[in-house]
């Protein structure tokens, strides 16, 4: 068909009319999870594998007959970190009856907080979003369900202390991306520097962080004892390359959750031996759930993505979050087996999770209506050239400092925001 003006306009109008109709839902004993996430804009480095992990876990559970008699339906779409699209996705999914939403994006999560609190829909903000949402009394429907950045900072510093026996007089340096996400752990580092006696310096780099050539010479000259690099995606790989080229020892460097095997591969598997990271859950294919997924889901060809990605860091994060959500459904179903399936129904389940380890994948996690973080446990792992090897057991540290920050920030939300 020739591309005349008429044909083009007519076809555009026709497709628009079809596309404006939202998809209709089916009626079953299902629990709907809405997963509008950012696949194409800023979070591309993590979302594909994270979503794959989540969907594979749901396939595993549904393949075993669901949980508590309910099947899990996950509605995945792309909002590209664009707020109008995210809000449209949220409203559409709400209409289809979702009881939980996982946007995996800090700006989107923040924009949805007021709506989620009004609509009583559980907003999961895994590792991202608002760190002060751990305070369930102020944010009853915002569920981090994972150690937030403050907790991660506290645990990292404690690991340094364990290694060096005493941090007094030492120097810790934070190389971070110059965004709210990058600046977030700074209050904790500063508070702990007063408590433990180390000096603390920051070196921000402009987002997205592909050009850190001027940062690391300064870091080198500062002669730090420990370097924490806090970025995402390309900022992490560039940080590691620059650090190697500037001669910073790899085994004195630590990252937050956002570093994975593929980042190590891009920089060079052997060159990055010794780098530390914070782990909220076990990595690799050995945890029982991941092995089960390999057997029952990927083995039958029903995996949601390439099999090579199963067991990577971000994949396991997705499995971890999915496992916690499903555990919430199980507890909710045990309390009220006939539903009706609503946000408050699931919320009652999520806030009653006790000592949940997902068969060895997680540290024992207890969520209450005051503590939506789940205990704030994690561990530090080290890259040995092929995989991340845990260096410690699951532990939690400096939670007093962390909760002081959480309470302070939640207070200001309560007084001014609400």
């Amino acid at each position: 068909m020739k591309l005349t003006r008429r044909s083009f306009v007519a076809s555009t109008a026709a497709t628009a009319l079809i596309g404006l109709r939202p998809a209709l839902a089916a009626d079953e004993k299902v629990v709907r999870f809405g997963m509008p996430q950012d696949f194409t804009k800023i979070y591309t480095f993590v979302t594909a594998e994270y979503s794959q992990g989540q969907r594979d876990y749901f396939s595993l559970i549904n393949g075993r007959g669901g949980v508590g008699g309910y099947k899990i339906v996950a509605d995945v779409s792309d909002h590209a970190n664009d707020l109008p699209r995210a809000i449209e996705a949220y409203e559409r999914l709400k209409r289809e009856g979702m009881v939980l939403c996982d946007p995996l994006s800090t700006p989107v999560a923040r924009a949805l907080v007021t709506r989620a609190l009004e609509d009583k829909i559980n907003l999961v903000t895994a590792f991202s979003g608002r760190s002060d949402a751990a305070d369930g009394t102020v944010f009853p429907y915002v569920m981090p369900l994972s150690p937030n950045y403050w907790t991660q900072a506290g645990i990292i510093v404690d690991f340094f202390r364990q290694q060096d026996k005493d941090l007094k007089g030492k120097k810790i340096v934070l190389v971070h991306i110059d965004t709210p996400f990058g600046k977030e752990p700074i209050p904790i580092f500063k508070a702990l520097s007063e408590k433990l006696g180390y000096t603390f310096e920051t070196f921000p780099y402009t987002p997205p962080g592909n050009d850190q050539a001027a940062i690391w010479p300064q870091v080198r000259r500062a002669k730090p004892d420990w370097v924490v690099f806090w970025g995402a995606g390309v900022g992490q790989t560039t940080a590691l390359s620059e650090a190697i080229r500037n001669g910073i020892p790899m085994d004195r460097m630590s990252s937050s959750v956002w570093i994975s095997e593929s980042d190590m591969e891009v920089v060079g598997k052997d060159a990055t031996k010794g780098v530390l990271k914070f782990e909220p859950c076990a990595s690799g294919r050995s945890p029982k759930i991941v092995a089960d997924i390999l057997k029952e889901v990927a083995g039958k060809g029903q995996g949601a993505g390439p099999e090579g990605k199963i067991g990577t860091a971000y994949y396991n994060y997705g499995v971890m979050m999915a496992a916690i959500m499903v555990e919430g459904v199980r507890v909710a179903a045990s309390k009220a087996p006939d539903g009706p399936v609503t946000g408050p129904w699931l919320n009652a389940g999520l806030t009653a999770i006790t000592d949940f380890t997902a068969e060895g994948l997680l540290p024992p996690m207890t969520v209450t209506s005051e503590d939506h973080q789940g205990g704030g446990k994690g561990r530090i792992s080290r890259w040995d050239g092929t995989k991340f090897v845990p260096q410690t057991d699951w532990f939690s540290a400096n939670q007093d400092v962390v909760w002081a920050e959480i309470k302070k920030s939640a207070e200001s939300f309560k007084t001014t925001g609400k």
Partner: protein, 295 residues
Amino acid sequence: MDIGLLGELALTGALVGAMYGLVALGIVLIYKTSGTANFAQGAIAMMGAYVTWVFAAGIGLPMWLAIAAALIVMFGFGMLVERTMLRRMIGQPIIMVVMLTFGIELLLRGAVPGLLGSAVKRLSLGIPQAPVFLGDMLINRAYLIGGGVSAALIIAAIVLFNSRAGIIMRAVSDDQGASWSVGIRVERAIAVAWGLAAIAATAAGILWGSMQGVDWSLSLLLMKALAIAILGGLDSIPGVLIAAVIVGVCESLATGIIDPLIGGGTRDIVASVIIVITLMIRPYGLFGHEQIERV
């Protein structure tokens, strides 16, 4: 301040600036011959890096062959874009063409990671990690090679513009009507310019991709390239080299000197401030030609 640090920052900055300048070279080439600004240049750089990765890791060619193949493919792609899309926009106001290039950028940013995978990809040029020491200053070997390659390519472009083909392109950029009347194939010259710009973008994409990994964020090289192009003059190729060094050095020094005072993030601002100051004082850049509007 520590002179060693300053010197190191300045040198590294100049090299990094040269690498940004490679993207700016493409913008200047296109503006010089067809009078339009190509806001899709960053996306073309990203695509070039992806194509190289496909040849190297997907098909398994040795790196040098993959690079050569990618350059040829991207040259063709540049000519294709010009032929199919830009040619129909001849005569339209400049803002339409700018919008078209934005559209191309979106299309590429969607198509390339969508079809080839959005996870970060490894592109290794085999440059050893060991730094080069100049006295007390540490020079990153990858930047040294990258900067060197960029400078070489820009100088090659200058030489090219003095050859016969280059004179043809200069004639086209000066006055398209007059060029037609003396028998120059204007469309061919513009298409070749687009192809060359795509080559420059690909080279930049490969260099940057080898350092940070290949993913969508390579398309963000555009902003810095614009600053360099404006400072040097949108129609001056030697200007690109000089402006690249200036912008790179300024950014590096700003990060080193001003950041600790303000608390970070001045790097991007330097580019913007340079653009604003240039446009206020010398709108046509250091070496650009003044556009005379005839009444």
